[in-house]
Assembly symmetry: C2
Homo-oligomer: 150 residues x 2
DNA sequence: GGGAACTAGTACGATGATCGAACCAGGTTA
DNA sequence: TAACCTGGTTCGATCATCGTACTAGTTCCC
């Protein structure tokens, strides 16, 4: 670590990525809290965000969020207790269970989606359509060599 | 939260930013560990990374890393105990103290810088010079509206 | 088929990270 | 100088995270 940023525009790319990442996360989290969904933590939200429409296995959630299975399990436990998600059996594998959004989770979803759209619109307006497209494209491309999950 | 990624290329930008951010962080952390700097945690590294060449105030570190002053203080305590940083008085304000890299910290610095350079080179090779430049430029621009610190 | 090896998930216990509240000392302002 | 603000610390509680160990179901291969 320690790349003490000689000039403002020469921040290492890690920091450069971190800044908008946290900004997005904070915006979503704050908006959900304002809408009454204030009974979960940021770590729990990070799990929930990764649940697919047809449910997602715990192991996949853990891998995607880069935490251990135990941590993921712990967070899902809490989300289950507060009614955001539920575990259902995986028909294709009796060992596995699919984590799905429950009532409270599906209620929160459109709120989150709206904020994502809002923030993305702001950023797009700031950058302009062309540069916005380039940013998305570059990040999507980077995924190929940086995403251990995919 | 919960934007259950309909198609791979339509991940919300938060996730798209998270993936390479964590990839970079993990690479640096792993390389430092291999080089013998294995006696600090990721959270401590996140602090250290933000220390400027002339020292940085605790409050600034906390704000930049988006943790509370208490957390930052706690992490700096540990880094001080293991010889990575030290606190020196701030000549311009007797209340404040500047957190600076100590011997072990300055020893780790070139290792970290080398990995950052290596990873950036890989990414640049993958994207091509032009797209790489666009990515950096777009992220730097985004900072203007997403960086509460700056 | 049947055992070996592997995978999904859970349980337990320890440590780390993080926060809120309260506080102190040095600065700033009127 | 009194009131207020700001940088930092201390204390205690809670949350997040991991390593180790375990159970149950699956896959592989002779």
């Amino acid at each position: 670590m320690a790349d003490p940023a000689p000039k403002p525009d020469e921040l290492n790319l890690g920091l450069l990525l971190f800044i908008p990442y946290r900004a997005m996360e904070n915006r979503i989290f704050a908006a959900l809290a304002r809408a009454g969904f204030d009974d979960f933590t940021l770590a729990q939200a990070r799990m929930m965000q990764r649940i697919g429409p047809d449910g997602t296995r715990l192991t996949d959630l853990a891998e995607s969020a880069q935490v251990t299975k135990q941590t993921a399990s712990h967070l899902v436990d809490q989300l289950e207790r507060t009614g955001y998600v539920r575990r259902t059996p995986d028909p294709t594998d009796a060992r596995a269970r699919l984590v799905r959004l429950a009532d409270r989770g599906t209620a929160a979803q459109p709120v989150a989606a709206a904020v994502v759209a809002e923030v993305e619109a702001e950023w797009r307006a700031h950058l302009g359509d062309r540069r916005w497209g380039q940013l998305r494209a570059a990040l999507t491309d980077l995924r190929e060599i940086t995403d251990p999950y995919r």
